[in-house]
């Protein structure tokens, strides 16, 4: 059979390449109204009231405000965020009221005739203001959460080191730019049941939010995932509030309501990657042996808690990078500001802290005049080492091989040796009067890890459940199989790999296994589609369920004879559809203490090495990435082409973050909420990728050892690019993005 490990054509492919796949905006239900949102234009204030302009014709229009919301909270980690602002306005773009009507244009006009009376208050717009408590906007100290991690005595160990270095590294917002903006279609049935079709990653998050806000029981709420045009974390938590809005309008109007954001609203209002500032002080030997690090992390959480505590946690847990440290002290804080709430985005805090650690490694290499990759190789984590939380790494640490393979493929030594500027540590402008464009080339590297699955006890708390059915094909009567779970395919290929895993365990061809559309009324809760957990955690549960169903059929065969098909048919005749449901079982010996941040932070880690070659134009300071060689330890590649697609897509998202994506906020408002001026990489900006898969299997991973891989490529792209720019030009940039104007300004400091 050997389905696992083969790049089979993705089963959702034909519908997608012919335009037949139905995304939420492609679904037309007669009688549907168009819904839209009135948003705050101020960052902080007191909402005194919302008035309808009496001169406007409101016939046929439905208006909803906070007083129409049964329980005005969005159920996430905390319940601090209202569905619609009631008294306090905490960020620009905050939803204040909703309007629905037959005609989209009239609905837009109506929004302009709703007058929100807001008494402005001085906003807290920066992390510095939040920490100095220029105003109190959350709790007593404007801090959502603080995380401490300690191993040994970092301060004392650093003080004893011959080489002590410090640096501060920052990263900005990043917008997801899934190409399909957020959208939802909602209606209520005659019995008061809520129905939602959503472009989303996590139908059960929305399910929970609806139950809470409308006071409904489980079975009265049905959330179905539409074909989803990308997510990257942006459709993790945000779709809940959008679904609540559409349901409020549907309830008030008695009609189905569709809400589709345009790009501008999507960029202005939905979550972003948390901006970060990370300060590292390290101590090491003169030969580059790392000894101790003290790391302070601050994330800008925005106006509401959303997922900031867990983003912070993951960021802190990755802050020491892929290296061995005897002593580590990490202090991390997520703070509140009056800016749109930041939330989940591929990597979930890790790209920020890895950026800092990788730039810091380059600082050490620069100071000690060591090859940056040799310095890294010297200090890589290996099986038998322990992480900052005291986790003993007992298997699947393929990082050394990743470095080796990426180095070899990129001809690192050769490329590293060629350009001149970095060697002298100096940047030189072209001579005056030079007519030919001057360009400098360089290569840089990064090494990184990513914990797969939920942090700490998360998987145990969630207990992913998934079901496999044996059912009769309605046409042929032949046995068929069906996978049911809440895990969604948002483009990354869940349907493909789940069908591969199940078919392989059942010893049948893939076309006999279907993937049920995730719908809370029909599938068990396999947890959210986040945290690089879908293949590794949920796929593992699925494999166990499919094997158990196979054993059941095989048992029947051995007892009463005939073929596998005969046995399946007998079971179907006797029981109708046969279902096996399985629940996540944590690997034995896994231990985590949330109170002390000690123990096994993740079941296992993915590992990676990225090497970028850039060309910097010395007149315009534009940077092009020419080549990107990477090797990632994925445990086991269930679908190599999909793996490569995830890695290349993630690396390019990181390159965009590194070089060009630049969200500009003024007074807490996004001023460049368009693809014209929030620019993501085009095919001409993308490098040629050489993508290598390393397989160091995880004993508990499905398909012979698969680990999570969705997020890890996002961790490595930016530091590799910055290191390459440094190699090419001598310019050291520790703050993203590396815009031409930033590099130009730094070049003047670098010139001597």
């Amino acid at each position: 059979m050997a389905l696992v490990g083969r790049s089979v054509p993705r089963p959702d492919g034909p519908a997608k390449v012919t335009g037949r796949a139905r995304y939420v905006d492609d679904v037309a239900v007669p009688g549907t109204l168009v819904g839209a949102t009135l948003r705050s234009t101020v960052a902080r204030g007191r909402l005194r009231g919302i008035a309808k302009d009496p001169s406007f014709d409101w016939t046929g229009l439905t208006v909803v405000t906070a007083e129409n919301v049964p329980a005005n909270v969005v159920a996430l980690i905390e319940e601090d965020q209202p569905v619609l602002a009631a008294d306090d306005v905490r960020h620009a773009g905050e939803p204040l009221a909703l309007v629905a009507g037959e005609d989209g244009l009239r609905v837009q006009r109506a929004l302009q005739h709703l007058r929100a009376d807001i008494e402005p208050l001085p906003p807290v717009l920066t992390v510095a203001d939040a920490l100095s408590r220029s105003a109190q906007i959350y709790g007593s100290d404007n801090v959502f959460r603080t995380v401490h991690i300690a191993k040994g005595d970092a301060a004392a160990a650093i003080a004893a080191c011959p080489v002590q270095l410090s640096g501060t590294y920052t990263t900005p917002h990043q917008e997801h730019v899934y190409l399909e903006p957020q959208g939802v279609l909602a209606h209520w049935d005659e019995d008061g049941g809520a129905h939602v079709l959503s472009s989303c990653q996590c139908p059960y998050y929305i399910h929970k939010g609806i139950k809470r806000t409308f006071g409904l029981t489980d079975e009265r709420v049905d959330v179905t995932q539409a074909v989803t045009g990308g997510g990257f974390g942006g459709k993790e938590e945000y779709p809940t509030i959008l679904a609540l809005h559409a349901l409020l309008l549907a309830k008030a109007s008695g009609r189905p309501v569709k809400m589709i954001y345009d790009r501008k609203e999507d960029i202005e209002a939905t979550t972003k990657r948390h901006p970060s500032s990370v300060s590292i002080t390290s101590g090491c030997d003169r030969d580059g042996t790392l000894r101790a690090a003290s790391i302070r992390i601050v994330l800008d959480g925005g106006a509401y808690v959303t997922l900031s505590p867990v983003v912070l946690s993951r960021g802190a847990l990755h802050a020491a990078g892929a290296y061995r440290w005897e002593h580590v002290a990490i202090e991390a804080q997520a703070v509140a500001t009056n800016t749109p709430p930041n939330g989940a985005f591929r990597g979930f805090g890790a790209p920020q802290t890895i950026w800092a650690m990788e730039r810091h490694m380059d600082r050490i290499a620069r100071t000690l005049r060591l090859d940056p990759l040799l310095l890294r190789e010297k200090n890589l984590l290996r099986v038998g080492d322990t992480t900052p939380t005291g986790q003993f790494l007992k298997e699947s640490v393929g990082v050394a091989r990743c470095v080796e393979e990426a180095k070899k493929a990129s001809r690192w030594e050769e490329r590293r040796a060629s350009p001149a500027p970095a060697a002298s540590g100096m940047f030189r402008l072209p001579p005056p009067g030079a007519v030919t464009a001057r360009k400098a080339r360089g290569v840089g590297a990064s090494v990184y890890l990513h914990g797969a699955g939920f942090t700490g006890s998360g998987e145990l708390a969630h207990r992913a459940r998934i079901a496999v059915d044996l059912l009769a094909d309605p046409q042929t009567g032949r046995a068929r199989f069906r996978v049911r779970g809440g895990s969604t395919d948002i483009g990354q290929g869940t349907e493909t790999v789940f069908r591969q895993i199940a078919a392989e365990a059942l010893w049948v061809s893939m076309d006999r296994v279907e993937f049920a559309t995730p719908s809370t009324a029909a599938v068990p809760d396999s947890g959210p589609t986040v945290a690089s957990r879908t293949v590794m955690i949920v796929g593992g549960v699925l494999e166990a369920a499919a094997r158990s169903l196979f054993a059941q059929i095989e048992g029947e065969r051995q007892q009463k004879g005939g073929s596998f098909e005969d046995a399946a048919r007998r079971l179907l005749a006797a029981h109708g559809t046969v279902t096996v449901e399985r629940e996540y079982e944590p690997p034995p010996g896994l231990a985590w203490d949330d109170a002390t941040y000690r123990g096994d932070a993740y079941p296992v880690y993915g590992w990676g090495c990225a090497i970028a070659e850039v060309e910097v134009d010395l007149d315009t300071f534009e940077t092009s990435v020419l080549g990107l060689w990477s090797a990632h330890d994925v445990g086991r590649a269930i679908h190599p082409t999909n793996c490569k697609g995830q890695i290349e897509g993630g690396l390019l998202q990181a390159i965009g973050w590194a070089l060009q994506e630049n969200l500009v906020m003024r007074e807490g408002r996004v001023v460049n909420a368009r693809l014209t001026d929030y620019v993501i990489p085009t095919i001409l900006d993308a490098p040629r990728f050489t993508t290598l898969l390393v397989e160091d299997p995880f004993s508990r991973g499905p398909g012979g050892g698969a680990k999570g891989l969705g997020e890890i490529p996002m961790d490595g792209g930016a530091p590799a690019v910055a290191a390459a720019v440094e190699h090419a030009t001598g310019i050291v940039c520790d703050d993203l993005p590396l815009l031409p104007e930033t590099l130009f300004a730094l070049s003047k400091e670098t010139r001597r």
């Binding site: 190409l179 790009r263 990354q492 082409t641 890695i647 897509g649 990728f689």
Partner: protein
């Protein structure tokens, strides 16, 4: 106003305001939802269609402008049972992930292969520079177009 044009090889007449966006007429009155809206301002290329064989953003074309002309959408390239070489290659090579940008890429690539049957990598990248994809990193898309070009040549008789 009744606008007459050729849609995916067949004559069509639609009564819609000539000032409507072509994108809205395709997705609305004609029910051809394969053409997607990603930005509404001609940046992302998700709504790319062919107008007399040339790729255009349907969000920037007024419906009245297609009078007497030929419009090709993704639905005109092939159906799930009869995929075109390009469509097949996108499925096989991993050119489509979330799929929302895919129709636009296919339409642009179709125009490329019509003009340059054996494109080089630079030809491919330049022809697809008006289409944004956030999933793939574009490498698999380049591979898919290359594979399709090869397949198309081998399918041609003689």
């Amino acid at each position: 106003m009744n606008v007459r044009f050729v849609l995916n090889g067949r004559p069509a007449a639609v009564d819609a305001p000539p000032s409507s966006r072509l994108l809205d007429v395709l997705r609305g009155a004609l029910g051809l939802t394969g053409t997607k809206e990603g930005c509404g301002e001609g940046e992302c290329g998700s709504c790319t269609v062919l107008l007399d064989g040339a790729p255009v953003n349907a969000c920037l074309v007024l419906f009245g402008q297609v009078e007497g002309r030929a419009v090709t959408t993704v639905e005109g390239l092939g159906d799930p049972e009869h995929l075109s070489p390009l469509q097949e290659a996108f499925v096989k090579e991993g050119g489509a992930q979330c799929g929302i940008c895919t129709p636009g890429f296919l339409v642009s690539a179709e125009a490329l292969l019509a003009a340059i049957p054996q494109p080089g990598e630079t030809d491919i990248r330049e022809a697809l520079a008006g289409n944004l994809c956030r999933c793939t990193g574009y490498q698999r898309i380049v591979e898919a177009v290359r594979a399709a070009a090869k397949e198309r040549t081998s399918r041609e008789p003689g």
